[in-house]
Amino acid sequence: MDNLTWTGSLGTILDPILFILVTILAISIVVQIIMSLFVEAPTLQSNPDGSLIARGGAYGLVSKVTNWSFLGTVAVLAAYLIGGVVMPYGSAGIVGAMAKQFLPVWIALIVTYALSIYYKRRLGLYGKLFDSTVGMIGFGLVMFWVFTAIFAGVFDLIATHDPLAQEAVMKNKVPGTYIRGAEDEGLWPHYLLGGDNLARDNFSRMIHGSWVVVRIAPLATMFAFMVGITLGLPAGYYGGKLDTFLSFLANLILAFPVILLFYLLVTPEMTQTGLPSFMAAVLFLFPIIFVTVLVNSRFHTQPPKRNIILGAALFVMVWLYLSLISQPVTVIDFLPASMDLFNIPGGILVVFVSVVFVNSPTVFRIVRGLAMDIKTRDYVAAAQTRGEGPWYIMLWEILPNARGPLIVDFCLRIGYTTILLGTLGFFGLGLPPESPDWGSTINEGRRLLQIYIHPVLPPALALLSLVLGLNLLADGLREESLKD
C-alpha cells in the first residue's frame, strides 16, 4: 500500500472544479457586499395580475451567481463524501477514507433529520428549529460531534487506532502515511491525519476527544443550571436581604479571573486536601433539593401521590448522589463497595466541579433577572390570590415562562463550557496528560507548531466547529422562540 494523498483519484476531477467554484463564490460575495453599499437593494414589484417580479439588475445578477456557486460548492463537497463512502478504501484519498469512517454518523444524521423534518409540526420548539437555516446548520454540527462521540466512545466504531497506542515509526508523520507492516499486526494501514510527537494517531485522538467533551460539558452545564435556578428563583422572587447576600456571593465568584480559580482548584495538591470532594458534595445536593421542592410544591395537597413520586425520585437520586460523592481513597469514603454504583476518577471530578462552580453564578444572575421581571405579571398575581405557595409560583408559574431565554442560554453555555474544558487542557490542568481531549492535544502540539502543524489543527478545528454549532443552534432557537 502507498501513502494516501488528500483526495486521491477523485481529486483529479473534483479539485479544479472546487477551486474554481470557491473562487467565484468568494469574489461574488465581496462584489455583492460592496455593491450593496452603493446600489439600492432589489425590490419586489407587484404586477396588476397579482404576480411578483424581482427587479434584479446588476445586483440581482451577482446575487444569482452567489447562490449558484454556493450550491455548486456544496454539491462538490457532497460528491467528495459520497465518493469516499462508495469507492473502495484508499482510492478517494484521506478525505474519502475519513468519510467512510464517519459512515455511521452520516446515517444517524440523515435519520435524525428525516424524522425531525417529517414530524416537525408536532415537536414544539425543537420542530420549529427546522424552519431556520442557521438553526439547522448549527444542530447538524452539534449532532455530528454528539454522534461521533457516542459511536466512538460507546461502540468503538469510528476511530481507526487506539488513541493512546504508539507506533514508533509514525512520529510526526504527515497525514495519510502508510504504516509499514501494519497488516501483519492487524492494524489500520494508515494514520489518516498523521502522527503526533509521541507517534499516536491524530485522527483517533480527535475522535476520542469528542467523547471527553460530550460526557462532561452538557452534564456540567445542567448541574450549573440546577444550582443557578434553585438559588436564582428565590433571590429574584423574594428580593431583600437574601437577594443582596446571594448576589454578593455570585459577584464574588464572577470577579475571580477564571484561570486563577482553575489554577487554585484544579491541582493534584487540591485533590489531596479533599476540597473538591466537599464542593461536589454541596453542588450535587442542588438537583435533589430542586426535584424535591418541584414535586412537593405541586402535589402537597395530595399527600399519598406526593409520597410515592417523591419517594421514588429521592431513592434513585440519593443513591446516585451517595455513590457519586463517595470515592475510595479520598476524604469522603463511607459507602461499602457493594453499594457504590460508580466511581469518577479524581481528575475528572475536580474538573467537573470547578466548571460547575464557574458557570453557576452567571446562570444565577440570568434566572434572578428573569424572575424579577416575571413576578410582576398578572398570572403571578392570580396565583398569589389563589393562595398558592411561593415555591409553587416560582417553579410552576415563573420557571416555565422563563424557559425561552434559558434554553438559548443553555446552548451557549455548553459551548462556553467546552471552551473552558479546552482551557483546562491547554494549561495541562486536571485531565491526565495523555488524555485525548482537544485542549490537552493542542497544548502538546503547540511546542512543535512551527514545524509540524498537523497534530494541532484537527483538535483546534473540531473544537471550533462544535462551539460554532452550539452558537448557531442558540441563534436559531432564539430566532424561532421570538416568533411566538
Binding site: 450593496s36 437593494a41 454578593f248 464572577l254 470577579a255 486563577l260 491547554f426 507548531l449 489543527l457
Partner: protein
Amino acid sequence: MGLFIIRRLGVMLLTALCLTFVVFFLTNLQPNLEKLAKTEASMRMSDEQVVSWLENRGYNRNVFIKYGEWLGVVPGYVIEDDEGNVRGRCIPSGGTVEDASTFCGVFQGYWGFSTVFKDGVWEIVTVRLGLTAWLMFYVMLVMVPGALIIGVLAGMREGSKLDRSLSTVSILTTATPEYVSGVVFIAIFTSSAVGLKWFNGSATSATDDITFVNFTLPVMTIALYGMGYIARMTRASMTEVMTAQYIRTARLKGVSFRNIVMRHALRNALIAPFTVIMLQFPWLLNGVVIVETLFNYKGFGWTLVQAAGNNDIELLLGVSVVSVFVVLITQLISDIGYVFLNPRIRIS
C-alpha cells in the same frame, strides 16, 4: 451619585478582602505548603524536615494570623530556629531584628517577596502590568473600532446580505477561543509547513521593542475573540435604534440614509456597546493569560501562570488583588458611564 459611588467602593473593598482571603486560604493549604517547601529547599526532604522548614518560616500557623500579617494589621512574626537563626517577616534582607518594623503588610505598602522571581512583588507586578498594558492598548485599538464598525454596518440594514455576512463573521469569532485562533494563526503565518513566515510565532522580543512582526499575532488573537461579542451587541443596539420613531421621521423628512446613520442613529446606538466594552475587560484578562502563555510574552498573564504553577503565595495574592480591582473598577466605570451617556437617566 456621590453616595452611590461610595457604596460601590465599600462593596469593592469588601469583595477584594473576601477574594484575597480565599486565595490566601487556598494557597496556604497543607499540601500546597509542602509542595512549596520541596520546590524551594530540596525535593528529597523528609517529612520532618518539611515541617521544620515551614515552622521556621512561619508557615505553620493559624491562617487568619498569617492573613492579618499580610494585610499589615497583625505584627509580623519573628522566629528563632534550632540553630539560632532568626527569621522575621519584617526583617529586611541582610538586616537584623532591630531594623524590623512591627507591622509590614499591604497597608504599609509592603506586598511581600516572590519566591519564584526572587524579587519584590510590587516591582514584579508593576513591570509586568506595564508590558500587558501595551498589549491591551493595541488590542483596544484594533478591537473597539473594528467591532463598532462591523456592528453598525450590520445593524443599519437588518437582514441584508451585508448584515448576514458580518453576523456570520461575528458568530465565528465568538466561537473561536484564543487558544484555537492563536494556534491557527501560528500554523498559517509562522510555520515552515505553510511557508508564509510573515510574523513571529513568539512575542518575547516585544518586551523590549514592539514591532509589527512580533506583536500582530498576539494582538489579533485577543482582539478577534472579543470583537464578535461587542459587534453583536452593537448590531442589536443599532437595529433597535433604526426602527425608532425619530429615525422614521428623519427619513420622511427626506434626510439621506448616510446622514440618518451618521448623525441621528449612531450616537444613540453606541450607548449600550460602551457598557459591554467595559465589561469585556475581565474577559480580556483571561485572553491575556492564554495569549501570553502561547506567545511567551512575559507580561501579567504569564506572571499569573508562573505564580500559580509554583504556588508563589505572595505574588499570587498581588496578582489577584490587581485583577480583582481591574474587574471591579471597570464595572464601576461602566455603571457611571452608562448614567452619563444616557440622557434619559441623566436628566431625570
